[in-house]
Amino acid sequence: MISNYFKIGFRILNRQRSYTVLNILGLTIGIAVFVFIYLYVQSEVRYDRYWTDSENIYRVWAEYKLEGKVERVAITPFKLADELQKNFPEIRVSTKLFFTDPSDVNDLSSLTYNDEVFEVQNITLSDSGLFRIFDYNFSEGDPWSALSAPNSIVISSKVAKEIFGDKKALGKKLKSMRREYTVTGVFEENICPTHLNFDAVVSESSLSPQNLRRLKSDWYHLGFYTYLKLDDTVSVKSFEKRINEYTSKEIKAYVDSAGVNIDGYMIFSLDPVRHVHFNTTLSYDSPSNANPAYLIIFSIIAGFILLTASINYINLAMARSLKRAKEVGMRKVLGAFRKQLALQYVSEAFIVVLIAFVLALSLVELLMPWFNALVGKHLTLAGTLFSIHGIGFGVLLILMIVVLALGSGLFPAFVLSRFNPATVLKGNNFMATIRGKQKISAGGIRKILVIIQYVVSIGMIIATLIIFFQMRFLKNNDLGFDAENVIVINTPDDTAYFHYATSFINELKTVPGVEAVSSTSNVPGYTYGKALFYVGDSSGDSLKTMSFYVVDTAFFQLLKIPLLEGEYFKTGMENDTTRYYILNEAAVETLNLKHPVGTEFDASFFNEPGGKIVGVVGNFSQSSLHSTIEPMTILLYPEQSRYLLVRLNENRNEEALAGIQKVWSKYNKGRYMHYSFLEDKIQSLYAADRKMLSLFSYFTFFVMFISSLGLYGLSSLLIEQRTKEIAIRKVLGGSDKRIILLLVKDYFRLVLIAGLVASPVVYYLMNRWLNTFSVHITLNGWYFVAGILAMMALALITVIIRSYHVLRQNPAPALKYE
């Protein structure tokens, strides 16, 4: 019996091949996109789930208040891990991991082996607890003891391969600028996703005794991630309470002993390690952390894309069933029950869905490299299917097949099998009876379904437009300085550098193609430091927290930051005993300075006050435009520079770059020159947003494509049914244009209704998204009108393509047919 349904199903699908192809194509794309999104979301959700007892692993984060300002940060004091471990027996293991600023590649980012310099991006520092909590597989060495001894380094298998090839790495010596390390372990890169991101780890005992002593005493030196592995039985809430009772006492004692008067607090909280990847609220956290809202949005889109493809199937099946009415009627006359008719429809849907599935999975496999490049992951279909999550994924796929087949097949079956056979045999526009009362015509249901498709399509078009324009706006947004043609070079992290810095910089200026060179403590538009400053006299009440840069005299002119008041730093000033400051506009406003130039001003970290403001410059962007422009002070103090800014005469001037490299090598023997283009660096702040834009654009394209397929099929069927009407109109003198308008009019109305439904929802959501930026475009009606018009144009084109053929036909045969 069932095989019979399938046999007939195949024949019907084969006979109406063009509709079958439309359906399969739509579903294939829909399923493929769904699977991509599923794999993506899955890989995000799986972050840090596969450590042994991962449910007992926590990361500690801190909330502190200092000078009236509350901050929540992922980094904690160095000493926290050890202090807690000592005093709380319910902690099985603890560890600390040095926070490396992702923007900050310095000396430690390269290692020398046999006089050859290798760039190693993420080198961090930790203790032997690290590999006890996070059980990486070691191909060489013992994970538990690898970080015990001073001057030990554990490297990833990738780094090991790069430096040592196929030779053993264990016991080999690697040099940084400061000391020599012995390789004590090689870990395999994790196949399971984790927020941890390091290529090499050195042991904490490698730190110099004075550094170690300082770190071990200071509660206010935040610079380390702290991880704890707790006993199963620990209640996290009460544990948090107890550790804070302990630490607040300790911190108070520390502050009292230092003799400073700090108005503030610091409290620690625990985040399950599995949640770390989804926490985007903390500063100094991994930049790859995912906003869970994006994942939810993507999941919803995945559902919508499937829904769109499914609606195509339902609509085409229903429109087609007018042609099949005779068959349905006859089957009823011959005594078929509704269940049996429904089964026939469902088996057809099943065949279509099954074929689409096979094609979709092949497509996914085929496009995987492209998708991986797009999202920056290493996903594989087979990897997911044949891994431990394979069962879940397999079950999901089977479930999807069943749901899609039932969803797509049952609905038309339900509607169509209700019809009175005598009416159906006449081929009228039939009516469905719902609970015996309401009557909805098949045409009405179809319209509702088409509106749903349009709502999704239009919503996504509008959202894509808004994201696109916001990204363009950010790109073109006036940073307040000129980042074009500027490269950023990391200077050696070594006091010896300052002995030759001046001659090094001077020689750089002579390289053909180099226009200017300036040294700075932070990358403008990218990062900034924070400190306390005295305004006016050095009494305690005028202490203010502000962002600051430390630069040399060339800084403002190189970046072309406009001067509003006073003067720029002048050559010679750096040798004065007075310290000179320039403030930005926002700082002048915040400090409420009527006459800023000449005002006494100094950072609190200088023991003897003695500074003044010499100028005011325009606001310029200090970091991602997701955050606002902060009051900022710039100090002239070239010795603190960590970066060199070099302005080239033209973009990507290869010759100048080669010249710079040459000068670098001359002055910095054995050191790797880490450099990047300032524009690239600034743009990298929006990498997540751009990724979202490109994903969103693709999804939108597919939704539009699938709904166009549906519209194409649907209008084909409707035009076919109206062939006679079209012929009569032509005979009576209707022009092609008027007839196309007549055909497309209905769709325009549906698009308009859909636009009205979609707009407020999109407005609400996109407004929320835009508000995450400090500067953003304003939402106006044009985005919405453009989205609706785009959909209308698409409908018009689809209908024109479809009706062209009919309009070219001679009306006579259509009229003869009855």
Partner: protein
């Protein structure tokens, strides 16, 4: 076998009411062969649809084998229909996607026959209708006469007591038409009751009795003079 009392059927299209049947009372005995004649639009097909339980009267009573059936549920009607009634249509109404064999077999599938029994019965009927050489073709590959033979075969496959034929020769040339009429005649002789709607006097001549309909009313009911 069939008794109707005061059957009434009204079609409503917007504000326009069309009365298809008004007060139709007819009786058909078991084994009878009745032709229903009348001009286009007089309600012949409507009457046949009601008799075949595929349409409902607005008023009146319909007794099938003594049971009032006009108010039964769809499902009950379907059961009654597939057990007792075979249909033959002017335009054959074969299902395009099914082969000759499968079309003929369909009523037995809906009756829930076992595969073995179905095969035996279908072979029998195919043999009888002389279409064995075409049993694996699709309707589109057959001539009109052949298609109607298949339709008749499908109508008789479940050995219904009643066959309702709606202009069975309407789309056939005279030679094929005669073949079909002979088939129906044979079936009637074997005991099957037949109610046939026709325009053709020649076809009507095969019947024992003619019911004339005009404007939805029975105007004349004669024993066929050729009997």
């Amino acid at each position: 076998m069939i008794n109707t009392k005061g059957l009434k059927k009204i079609f409503q299209a917007g504000d326009v009411e069309t009365i298809a049947l008004r007060d139709v009372s007819i009786d058909v005995e078991k084994g009878d062969f009745v032709a229903v004649m009348g001009p286009s639009g007089c309600g012949k097909t409507t009457l046949l649809n009601i008799l075949g339980l595929i349409d409902n009267p607005n008023d009146g009573e319909y007794y099938f084998n003594g049971q009032e059936v006009s108010k039964l549920h769809d499902k009950q009607k379907a059961v009654l229909r597939k057990k007792n009634i075979g249909f033959v249509f002017q335009n054959f109404n074969l299902i395009d996607e099914l082969t000759v064999r499968e079309n003929i077999e369909l009523p037995l599938i809906y009756l829930g026959w076992k595969k073995k029994d179905r095969k035996k019965r279908v072979d029998e009927v195919i043999e009888r209708m002389e279409i064995s050489h075409r049993k694996n073709l699709f309707p589109a590959q057959l001539s009109g006469g052949q298609q109607q033979r298949v339709a008749v075969a499908r109508a008789v496959i479940a050995r219904p007591a009643l066959i309702l034929a709606d202009e069975p020769t309407g789309n056939l040339d005279s030679m094929h038409g005669e073949e079909v009429m002979n088939l129906l005649n044979e079936l009637n002789k074997e005991g099957t009751t037949i109610v046939m709607v026709t325009h053709s006097r020649r076809d009507a001549s095969y019947s024992r009795r003619i019911i004339h309909l005009f404007d939805g009313q029975v105007i004349n009911e004669n024993l066929n003079k050729f009997l």
